[in-house]
C-alpha cells in the first residue's frame, strides 16, 4: 500500500492504495470521479483518457504509484469554475459530437490536449490527435468539426 497524494482537477486528493492499482480505479472508486470510463482496460480505446501532468494518458494503463504527486485532469475538471460547460464542451453539444456519450470524456481530454498544444487545427491534425480514441456512434466528423472550431476559438 502507498499513500497516494495527487492533484485532481485542482484539488489535492489522497488515498491508501496498492501501488499497482490502476489510476482509472483510483479516480472512479476512491474519488468517485466516474466521468472517466473504461471501454477495454488495455489501452486500445481511449475511453479512460485523462491528462497526467498535461500529457494524455490511458488511465487504465497507469499504475497509481506513477501518478504520485502528479496533476491529473479528468472530464469533471473541464467545465468553467461556475460549472457551465467549457467552449469545447459547448461545441461538442452544439455540433452533435456526443451520442451515447461513453467515449466523450476521453475524447474531450484528447481534444483538450490538442488545443493546449496550440497547433494549427487542420482536419488531418485533429484526426491524428484523436486517433487513439474510439467512437462507435458518430463516425467522427462531428467531433472533428467541434474540435477544430474550439481550437480556433482558443487561438483567437
Amino acid at each position: 500500500m502507498i499513500e497516494l497524494v495527487l492533484d485532481v482537477n485542482g484539488a489535492e486528493r489522497s488515498a491508501r492504495v496498492p501501488p499497482l492499482r490502476r489510476l482509472l480505479d483510483v479516480l472512479r472508486e476512491e474519488f468517485g470521479l466516474t466521468g472517466t470510463k473504461e471501454g477495454c482496460g488495455e489501452g486500445e480505446c481511449g475511453a479512460c483518457s485523462v491528462l497526467l501532468d498535461g500529457e494524455l494518458v490511458n488511465a487504465c494503463l497507469v499504475p497509481a504509484c506513477q501518478a504520485q504527486g502528479a496533476k491529473v485532469v479528468t472530464v469533471e475538471g473541464l467545465a468553467r469554475p461556475d460549472g457551465t460547460p467549457s467552449t469545447l464542451q459547448r461545441l461538442f453539444l452544439e455540433r452533435g459530437a456526443a451520442q451515447c456519450g461513453i467515449c466523450t470524456p476521453g475524447m474531450l481530454l484528447a481534444a483538450q490536449r490538442f488545443i493546449d498544444l496550440g497547433a494549427t487545427p487542420t482536419d488531418e491534425a485533429v484526426r491524428e490527435a484523436l486517433a487513439g480514441n474510439l467512437c462507435r456512434c458518430t463516425g467522427y466528423s462531428k467531433i472533428v468539426e467541434a474540435v477544430i472550431e474550439a481550437a480556433r476559438e482558443a487561438r483567437r
Binding site: 466516474t34 466521468g35 480505446c45 451515447c100 456519450g101 491524428e128 486517433a131 467512437c135 463516425g139 467522427y140
Partner: protein, 777 residues
Amino acid sequence: MVIPAPPGKMGPVPLPAPELLVGQSPPRLDGLDKLLGRARYLDDLTFEGQLWGRTVRSTVAHARIVLIDFDPSYDWSGVTRVTARDIPGENVVQLIDDDQPCLAWDVIRHFDEPVALLACADREKLEEALRHVRVEVEPLPAVLDPAASTQVFKHYRYEREAGRLAEAFARAHRVVEGSYRVRHQEQLYLEPNAVCAVPRADGGILLHGSMQCPFYVQRALKRLLALDDERVAVVQTVTGGGFGGKEEYPSMIACHAALLARAAGRPVKIVYGRGEDLASTTKRHPGVVSHRTAVAADGTLLGGEIDVLFDGGAYSTLSPVVLSRGAIHAPGAYRWPACRVDARAVATNTPPNGAFRGFGAPQTLFAVELHMDRIARELGLDPLDLRRRNALRPGDRTATGQELRESVSALEVLEAVAERSGWASGRAQPKGDGPKRRGLGLSLVLHGAGFTGSGEVKLKARAGVELTPTGCRVLAASTEIGQGTITIFAQLVADALGLPLGAIEVAAPDTSRVPDSGPTVASRTCMVVGGTLEGAARALHRRLAAYAAEVYGGDAERIACVGGTFREGARAIATFEEVARRQLADRGPLVIVEQYSHPPGIEWDDDEFRGDAYPVYAWAATAVEVEVDLDSYETRVLRVVTAQDVGKAIHPLLCVGQIEGGTVQALGYALMEEVVHRDGRVANDRLQSYLIPTALDAPPIETILVENRYPHGPRGAKGVGELPMDGPAPAVAAAVLDATGALVPELPITPDRLRAALKLGAAPTASLGETPLGAAE
C-alpha cells in the same frame, strides 16, 4: 416563447407564430450530463452491499456435461455459487423459439457458453474462485461450417410470378450468376454490457442495466424466476451504445445477475470485460447469398433466383426474424418481373448471432448490389444506368407483392448522389497507372421501417403522456442509446401540445412505470413509438382544450395551445401551466396511453410470405471513392456522398449523426471488421485484433437529407437508424472493382482477399471476366 398574459387581464394579444421544434436541432436533452461527465452509466452506480458477479463458461464448442466441479479443497466462503439447478422457473432465455438456456445443464452447444455463476464482494477473490471451477465434459462433434449444418432454424421461400421464371431465363440475353459472402461483425458499443440485480424484500427483483429492450429483460426474468409482473421491474440506465448488440443479450446477463442476487440476498453487478463481451455476445450473422439473374441486353432485369444462407450460431435466438428481413431485402431496390427467394438460417456450434443494425439486410443488400455491378460489367453498362433502369418506382410491386404507394424515392436519392458525387466525370477519370488506383462505386438500397410483416400488429406497442403541472411527461419503453430517442420524443410531443421543449420530461424506461412500447430496434422508435406518442399528446391537448373551454368559456374545438398559452383564435385564455394545474387539482392525474396500429390497407400474410412487408421503406444511395494501393493491397476510402430519404428529419443534426455513424460502421464492415473463429472460439477477442475505424480511417461524408414524407409517420418521418448501414459496403466493393477490375465477392475486403481476387481474376484494368468465388478463401 411563452408570453403569459397577466392573470385577470385576458384580452386579445397578437398571436405568436408557433415555434415548431420538429425540423430544428435543439441541443440533445441528455447532452449536458454526458459532456460534463455527470451521466451515470451502470458501472458508475454503486449499490449498497453489492457483490460482483462472474460467469463460468465452456471451453469447448460442443460437449456433454459430465460434472460441474467446485474444487472441494478451495475455501468458498464469501462466494455465491449458482448452476442451472438453482433456477426456480424455466431454464430458458425467453425470446422467440426459447431454445437457449440461461445456464447450460446437460449439453454445451458453443464455446464460451455460460455454465455456472459466481459472486463475491472481493473482485480478486472472485477471479481466483473462477479458476477453481472445473467443467468436466465428453466432447461431441462440432459443426462449425454452416454449409455442413443439418439443423435448420428457419426456412422461407417466396416467389413472385414464379411461373414466368423459366420463360425469363429462356429469353434472357444473359444469365449472370454470382455468390457473395459476409462475415461476423461485432457491434462494439463502447460501453461493455453491464447490469445490476437488486433483490427485493418481496422476493422480487429490481434490475438496472445497459440495454435496448427493458420489457424483453423483464419477460425473461419472470419466466426464469417464476415471478409475476408485480415482482420484476427493469430499469434502463444510461446506455453507451447498442447497435442491436443490446437487444437480446442483456436478458441473458440480467438472468445471471438475478440468480446470483437471489442466492446471495444482495445486489449483484455484472460488468463484462471487453474480452468476455467480444467472445460471448451476439454478432452480425455471417452468410452466403447466391444470385442467378436473367437480364435483357439493355440491362432490364427479367427474373432472378436468390439463395440466402445465414449462420445462426448455436441457438436460434433472433435468427428467424433476422432471416425474414434479410430475405425480404434480398431482391434490393429493384423491379423483378419474376423472382424466387429461398432463405435458410442454420445452426452451428458457435456463439449465437443476433441483432446488429440492419438486421439481415446489410448482408443480402451487399450481395444484390455487388451483383448489379457484376451485371453492369458483363453487359458493358454504366452501373448507375443499370440501377436507374430497374429501380422501384411509385406504383411498382416489390418481390413480396407489396404495392409501393407512398414515399418511394429510389430514383430521387440515386440522382442526388450521381450529381453530388460527380459520377460521370468520376467514372471517366483514369484509374491511375502507378501502384495507387482510384475508383468510384455506388449502391442503392431500401430499408423497411418498423417490424417485419405482422410484427407490429402482434406487438400492439403502447406509449403515452402524463400531464405535469408545467407540461407533460413522456411515458415510453423506448431507450435512449445515443441515437437521440428522448430528444425527438420531446420535440414531437412539445409540438403537439404547443409547448417549448423545456416543458417536456421523458421518464426513464422502467417497466413498472411505463407502458410496453416494444423494443428499441428495427428503425421503429421514431415512426412507430414517436407517432403513437404524438397521437397521445394530441389527445391530451384535446382533453385540456375541452377543460379550458369548460372553465374559462369558449369553443373547445377552436381552442389550441400555441407557444405555451391556450387561445381561441387571437384571444389568450390561459397559460398551459394554469390549465394544467387547475385540471390536476380538479380532476386528479391525467395519463393518456395510446396503442399503435398500422395505417389502413397494410396486409401481410405470414404463411405465404406475401403482402406489405413494411408499412413504408426508407431509401438511400451512396457513392464511395476509394484509393487502392496495389503494392500493399490496402483500400482507403477517400470520400462518401450519400442521399437518404428518411421521410422527415425530426432533428436534422441527430439524423445526420445517425447517418454518419452508421456509414462509418458500414465502412468498417466493408474493409476491416471480421470476427475470426478458431475451433468455434472467437480468436480476436481484443481491440488489438478486432479493429474498428478510428478518426483517421473515417472519410469525410457528405449527407443529403431527402424528405419525401410518409403521410402516416409522425410529421412524415420513416426510419433512419439502420438505413445507413446498408449501402456503404457494396459501394466500397464497387469502387474497388472500378479501381482495379477485381470483383471481391466477400467482406471485409482485406488486402489478402483483394490480392487473391486480383491474382485469380483479371489483371488490373483488364475487364473482369469470371472472378472465381472461392478466391477469397
